[in-house]
Symmetry: C3
């Protein structure tokens, strides 16, 4: 069993419920992971994912071994047939099964290069880890998706769900750096599986891969998109069509209270880390609408629900 996308989940609602049950009694399955080892491989920095996944594993009684690849260890080669006379020291075909032989479940974080869309969207790095570790695989954010974040987001929405069918808006916001589309793609594909009205708003040129957004409404007019919203998920991403490029720094897309005049009950979400006063204002981040901390807290139970299911099938 792998967890790389919402495609790996048959019944999203049941998984959300399972996570909420674990939140109510985090140590209920503390013996499930006894003598099992979770290996975490970070090819990129991590705070929430690192700590929340460790905590989740610990709640389940697992051992955790983490490796910061390229820093603690050796630079990895991912191209098949490479003549390795350059700077990469070890091939994924050799490194991955070694890690697999020491661990029962493998989690990997591998951001996209944002240079070649084909390479990134092929998920070459993640696929190689999955293929060569030979163990159940847990995505800690891949080139195109961040499923543990999205599951935590779904838990958070479930905890604050209004009595009516909610309107959820994914709102592009400016940023100083070119960021992956992973969180936006992932949130979109999970929203398409919930019973919500899902709207995406961004400047022209920031259209996401339709494979993830499905029947979502794209509303370029930001004000109109926000009207009546119950949840506004603020997030920057770089262009998918003009791959990896920054096409806009439009400061009017920084979410402030003023934007939410037509959505008095809207809750605001962000996966963190957030650039304050660039993506959204302090008043939003620190105000009563903010679900930012709750999302981060729910990362533990998202990871724990998925690890529990994997452990139960080992």
């Amino acid at each position: 069993m792998n967890f790389t996308s919402v495609q790996d989940v048959q019944d999203v609602a049941a998984l959300i419920d399972e996570a909420i049950e674990l939140k109510n009694d985090p140590l209920a399955f503390r013996h499930l992971g006894r003598d099992k080892t979770l290996g975490l491989v970070f090819l990129n920095p991590s705070l929430r994912t690192r700590l929340s996944t460790q905590k989740a594993a610990s709640n389940l009684g697992m051992n955790v071994m983490a490796v910061n690849a390229d820093r603690d260890s050796w630079a990895i080669e991912f191209q098949d047939g490479a003549i390795m006379n350059g700077t990469t020291v070890e091939h994924i075909r050799d490194a991955a099964p070694v890690i697999g032989s020491y661990c029962d479940i493998i989690g990997v974080r591998c951001f996209p290069g944002l240079v070649s869309r084909e390479a990134d969207y092929d998920e070459h790095v993640m696929k190689q880890f999955i293929r060569w570790t030979g163990r159940p695989f847990l995505s800690l954010e891949s080139a195109t998706l961040h499923p543990l974040q999205s599951l935590a987001d779904c838990i958070t929405i479930a905890e604050h769900r209004p009595p009516h069918r909610p309107k959820v808006v994914l709102a592009w916001a400016p940023h100083v750096k070119a960021l992956p589309q992973a969180v936006a793609n992932s949130f979109s594909e999970w929203m398409c599986r919930l019973d919500v009205e899902f709207v995406i708003s961004h400047p022209p040129g920031y259209e996401l891969d339709p494979g993830y957004t499905g029947n979502a409404t794209v509303e370029y007019n930001y004000e109109k998109a926000l009207e009546g919203a119950d949840f506004v998920y603020v997030k920057n991403w770089s262009s998918y069509s003009d791959y990896g490029q920054i096409l806009s720094h439009d400061p009017s897309r920084m979410l402030t209270e003023k934007h939410l005049a037509g959505a008095p009950g809207a809750k605001v979400m962000h996966c963190l880390p957030v650039r304050r006063n660039v993506e959204l204002s302090d008043e939003i981040a620190d105000g009563p609408r903010s679900l930012l901390q709750l999302q981060a807290e729910n990362r533990v139970f998202a990871a724990q629900a998925v690890l529990k299911r994997i452990l139960q099938k080992l």
Copy 2:
């Protein structure tokens, strides 16, 4: 309950006794920390603090999760209201409560910048962690103080206390780099709470913040200061008045056996790491006067006594 200074301790002697009891039976409270997580955040390098605090937590049965901020994770912004369009990636207001939600107790190491005395002595970074994690806080050395070191120093002095009221000398020594005043400030405020004669000796211009040194005698004459000393604590610090500057490299302030002609029974202390043959001579470090290793060993029981008290109040 926080532990950031001797001000957080009502009865210093009782805490020292408690630490010595733990040293005699380190696993006596091994069930106290069961299912509790200690989060350690390092904004600076650490050997003794890192390992001794981990060991202390492990003796109490706690889980430990350590993060090397800026390296494993994201560069943190500490200014309120910052427009985050620069190099910092996450605001302390967002990062700290996330760590707080995963951990029961938070330890942070945050050295001073040594540029602005106001900023450093305001302990802005530490205060932000305390404010925003919402958890009991353990200083692993802040901009101005190093209380776990001082507690370990007090344990070491208690173990070697002569029958008379001892004379303790804090002796400035030269160094190649500008160092914080934290160890010196902290040792001073703890000494002011013990029943000892406390003398500080340094070249003019190295006077410490009087808020920490209280009624200590400042004796500029090094020879006179050392006369009859029972404990000589060697340490470099940069200037407090001419903030962060090196005002002297005076090699006659490097402690050698010759200096201790008038203090035949004197024991020598240093918090480590020490620049040998710059701050003190090899003959001192490796000789029978040296308490350096004992101080380091006692770091475990200092941390364990404090963690035990925090756990008992959780």
Copy 3:
């Protein structure tokens, strides 16, 4: 009890058997390491050694504390009597006993500088750790030897031993960087203790220190060396006589299937990380002859057998 070389092992066959027993029942001694702490100090990168030693310790119920020296901690000075007014921050005489006071067993990885043969072959760094920690010492690869790797290699050979006395060939292969002789030295001294025909093949100028190779046959003709081989251990090393230099990039020394025409049953070994298509071809690495992954897997049981023996003598 230290483990730095085959010299530390009285009965190699018995140690191999013990490791294989542990492989069949890894948790049989899970209570042996209870309340014992293994300290791992890495002065160099590590993947297999880091994870396999952690896993071995965990199988024995030990706590593990790892330090990446120079990164997590302080740059270490190894010269006695040094006037420490340069870039090193802490002397090994101070750092090592501190680590020793927190841990029951110490493992250290310390690669050679490959500049001074005298310094490297004196094992100055390792000896200082052994001397000053005052704890049982486990080499995680030193300047001249890699005994845990060699023990894992011996386990692997034992698992695939043919009915006849096997021919084992240590085959030098090209590489883009100057590498230590440690794996080659170590493999040689362990092979000299097994009942095997041991042949070493390399271009002229790559002769290893005869102190490790004993009565091994050196056969410069690669084809002749490989004839009838049961095990071919591929490995690069830099010159011992022209110390640390690369004397050959001879591509005909990259092991391919063609080389093994005269050794149809030969198994191929390498300690990893391997430069594919430089040291050996993909067809070898991914083919049925390859024992590379098995060697890596056996690292756990090599470490576990050694740690078990050390724990039993504590």
